[in-house]
Symmetry: C2
Subunit: 134 residues, 2 copies
DNA sequence: CTGTTCCACTTGCAAAATGCAAGTGGAACA
DNA sequence: TGTTCCACTTGCATTTTGCAAGTGGAACAG
């Protein structure tokens, strides 16, 4: 099914499944920026290049973290979305946000979001998951 | 101080600070395997190569995530340890463990650890932080 | 003081991954 | 039937990685 992992340390397993910068930025775009088309991912602020994007989408699909489907509204386009396994990455992304917001003096993270994250992490997770499933 | 980041998205900031596989495995070794010497990191299960190890240690030191000091017990050796900023990565590692343990059928993660993580995350965090600070 | 050992790197080089720009192929629309 | 649009693919120069061997300095042994 997937490439052999170097070890079954759970951290290593996670890192080898999705743990490179571009994969996580794609997942960020799906969760927090509501992106779903190839062209939308290409437009990211960090300027991913097209061959890397194609490569990461296919790796993530092979890992069952994202899923690719025809757009019912426009049969010549594809929609990329998270699987349940991909949605389960949300807590990791939230911790990345938390750390980044704390240590980057110029962070773009909105204060209100960080406050909610600190005050009611579980509630925030449910809220975001619900928005992904609808 | 550090290399310019591509964006101030907090996720991207985190990923560019420590977000590559080897950096995170070094941090794992410090936190969960009590390693502190260069030679100990070289011995990791995942077989990091020596030039990459040296490169990552100096990057992490530049990012103020780890600190390098002479070993008081043996002045010809160096001890690497986490700073407060490095210790703050613990929740991220715990979420990586959680996800990896959940989706790897052959995971090495001990059941008891995962149960404690699910039952009392905050308590577990405090326990590990305390063990790092002593 | 001199030679050996140990440790923490450094260097050189081949192989793999990345980034950039341009090209392709197939569906839909004109 | 020709044009447009979109999701990739390809080619190639540059960068990063991995592997193996080498170096330099501190400490210890004789």
């Amino acid at each position: 099914m997937k490439k052999e992992k170097r070890s079954h340390c759970p951290i290593n397993f996670s890192l080898e499944s999705f743990g490179d910068k571009w994969s996580l930025l794609i997942i960020r775009d799906i969760i927090f920026k509501n992106k779903s088309y190839y062209g939308e991912f290409l437009d990211s602020e960090e300027k991913i290049s097209t061959n890397i994007l194609a490569n990461r989408l296919s790796l993530l699909e092979r890992e069952n973290i994202i899923r690719k489907r025809k757009d019912p509204a426009n049969s010549s386009k594809y929609i990329y979305s998270l699987t349940e396994k991909g949605i389960a990455l949300l807590p990791i992304l939230l911790e990345l946000i938390h750390w980044g917001a704390k240590y980057d003096p110029d962070t773009d993270a909105p204060d209100a979001f960080i406050e909610q994250l600190e005050a009611d992490r579980e509630g925030l997770i449910w809220e975001i998951v619900a928005s992904l499933e609808k």
